[in-house]
Symmetry: C2
Subunit: 238 residues, 2 copies
């Protein structure tokens, strides 16, 4: 089954009350995806990961977003003692002010992060009888992580087809990555139509009181709002 | 890259001190795989999963086996609040005395368990610079779980190829499942040649003082020792 990457209303027909699992980080993309899925009539259940990330802020934000949207969620706690990322190891510096989408994969890459997150989502979906897993991955305005690319999701879809009991029962669980081929500006425009509360989202890799404005994630967010022609509500009262 | 499923000494050439991650449950299969990998010269690091399983006994056994073998290990703690398995939910009964390898996938199936375990193994391997992940999966004398079948591992191999930074750097991490096509008797014969301490291993799905002798896992183990023509050392002093 191909990975769904469109949000075209004409081609998407979703039965009301269809269950879906949504990976929610508290960032701009995953929050947009949550509201997109809700708008399509999915009955969503969010998974929020407490994986030893650099700061707790995105966890708090994710929970607040799910609560605000009236969507149930689980916080999945995992240990990754091997670290291997600036997001897991405070001794590794978060790159600042680098050219966004450079050729090099930055130090913020977490080994196998989406592979891990999707595996829990698949488990949750199968246990709950959900048929769709939504992920906010994006392969245009992104940090170059290999597990955000279309070919990765295509391969992962096959794993779900071959590795889940649900698939043997004819109920393949589908990975939906509706933002995969959108620019950050397109995502923001979509989100504004869906009334996504961007003031609640958190993109900065650092956990300060305000976004640092210098890390990849801040730079991509700023570029998106600028290109979309909107002000970032998170920065309004700076 | 195809999944390696042979333990043929003639065709396997392993550089001394090559790092590998080994998924260790404390059971018969994964312990055999650990000793197989060590015998091949791999410098092993075990991952032991504390995932809310029905009993703690297999965790204690796994740690004792790793310590006894002088192999470092991490215990990966994860939460799966959705359960959906007799191994995670004490309200679901562990099937007893059923025909082994029946058509039906039993209630002990844990949704996406190997998908999850392999994802952590891949993360650990990438962070540690290991190129091989060993798993004791077996598709002959097994409980029929879909994530133990060759087609699943083939699909997962492609996920690692597409989703890891290591792969982009030309260092694909290989899943090795050397027991995949062996009967339980063949596994035990191999293990005895490798001096696997089967008295330390634990297969029973229940956590009693003695194995129950009636669950799938006990029945498969008993069949294996019987066909191999050996006594199970775990049962010696019953």
């Amino acid at each position: 089954m191909p990975v769904s990457n469109t949000v075209n209303k004409k081609t998407t027909t979703v039965q009301k009350e269809t269950k879906a699992v949504v990976l929610l980080s508290g960032g701009l993309d995953s929050t947009t995806v949550l509201f997109h899925a809700m708008g399509k009539g999915y009955r969503c259940h969010c998974l929020i990961f407490d994986y030893g990330q650099r700061h707790r802020k995105e966890l708090q934000k994710a929970k607040a977003i799910a609560r605000g949207a009236g969507v149930p969620f689980d916080v999945v706690r995992i240990t990754m003692p091997w670290k291997g990322s600036a997001l897991l190891d405070r001794r590794i510096k978060v790159p600042q002010g680098r050219a966004v989408v450079a050729d090099e994969i930055p130090a913020t890459y977490v080994p196998a992060r989406n592979i891990i997150f999707l595996s829990f989502a698949a488990s949750c979906a199968e246990a709950a009888g959900a048929r769709t897993v939504f992920i906010g991955a994006n392969a245009l305005d992104y940090s170059g992580y290999p597990d955000c690319r279309p070919e990765f999701f295509k391969a992962y879809q096959m794993v779900l087809k071959k590795g889940l009991k649900a698939s043997l029962d004819g109920k393949t669980i589908r990975i939906a990555a509706p933002l995969l081929h959108k620019t950050k500006a397109q995502i923001i425009r979509l989100g504004r139509r869906l009334n996504v509360p961007y003031e609640l989202t958190w993109s900065c890799y650092k956990g300060g009181r305000r976004p640092c404005g210098q890390c990849d994630s801040c730079l991509l967010r700023a570029k998106g709002f600028q290109e979309a022609g909107h002000a970032d509500p998170l920065l309004k009262n700076r």
